[in-house]
Symmetry: C2
Subunit: 227 residues, 2 copies
């Protein structure tokens, strides 16, 4: 007898590395742009402001991020960046779309273990094509009974997914690296959640919260917590 | 007694105008780029080649199209386009994401009519955020029992959707403007389909086919055809 019927898993920074690529691209972006930008201008700050402005229109994911990189390159340099450098910026972003997937430690074993007595469901934000490509090339797709790539992980989204799956909230547990997206909305609808931190958290996902949250040091510690 | 339980509807160029915006943006793009491009260079041809190359990586939709516009602007001008013109190109593409939805004639009435005795399902390719935004602002969302935004409309996709809906192919009819995406794969899995042509067809959706296809002049003619 298990405590849960369905276990939801986040993808980026829960199953495979993601945020570190964004930071690496940002670092390159700053290097490329610095010669064309006035001294003292905060390039990462400008990029984050552009991303935040675009978020409701273009959503999460690498394509949206790349569009923000290009726009920010032009505005932050006041139009002084040459086209070939814009081309390099574009290639930096687009390159993330075909980067090999780098699994986090122990992921395949943990999914095999949890999958023995639970239905596993992948619930991830981001771009349809890119997330599907990563899942396919990860060699993990066969562990999942259902894949849901969503725009926003809020209470309404989780309610809709549990409804589609025909599972009661108290038989559902979500596992992921974002307190904001993977934990709080699931607890709010009466489900359970385990937070597995990644070493970097995207600023947008940071959230203040009180109340107790169940955390695991790594994904390897999750099965024991759930049983 | 109806012939079908579930009716699938495509969105772009079936419920609302879409392809004409892409063509309008392309026209502006050519105007913007012409001063920086050698005489005789086929700018629309270069754009289409860029799009085709990006398609497996970035998929369908406006964000992918905008990334292609930016890349093409740089390559087709051999890096001679100034950054502020690249900015205008980017804004052209991004502007499509917030364009108001323009419904095709009679859409709301036809959905209300068909919805009286069928479950209606929206099945569309493209970008999760943009398609959701268009549907929400269209005032049509309440007609649909289910929304599926997919990467590719092929036999496997339709089989998966019909499985999720618990409907047999012979009780399903798809309506859309693309023979390639809305008609042929549905017929191939034993479903029915009605082709409702839009006045422009994206080159990528053109397909050679033999065999008979049921066509309606406009969406208004569909209910009579289905009953």
């Amino acid at each position: 007898m298990t405590r849960f019927d369905v276990i939801g898993l986040d993808a980026d920074d829960t199953l495979w590395h993601s945020e570190d690529s964004f930071l690496e691209v940002e670092r390159h972006f700053v290097e490329l742009l610095t010669p064309y930008v006035a001294v003292g201008v905060d390039i990462p700050g400008a990029l984050r402001a552009t991303e935040q402005r675009h978020l409701p229109i273009s959503g999460y994911g690498v394509k949206a991020f790349t569009l923000s990189l290009v726009e920010c390159a032009i505005t932050v340099s006041q139009g002084k960046v040459p086209a070939n450098v814009v081309g390099e910026v574009l290639a930096l972003g687009m390159g993330m779309l075909t980067e090999p997937v780098r699994l986090l430690d122990g992921v395949a074993e943990v999914l095999a273990d949890l999958g023995r007595d639970h239905r596993l469901v992948l619930i991830t934000k981001g771009d349809l094509v890119h997330q599907s490509r990563k899942l396919e090339s990860s060699g993990l797709a066969h562990h999942f009974a259902h894949i849901d790539i969503v725009m926003e992980k809020d209470e309404a989204t989780y309610r809709r997914i549990l409804g589609d799956l025909g599972v009661e909230p108290d038989r559902f547990c979500m596992i992921g690296n974002s307190v904001r997206s993977d934990v709080l909305p699931v607890l709010a609808i009466g489900g359970d959640a385990v937070h597995v931190a990644y070493h970097i958290t995207w600023e947008h996902e940071l959230v203040d919260h009180d109340g107790s949250i169940v955390s695991a040091e790594t994904l390897r510690d999750v099965p024991a917590l759930l049983r």
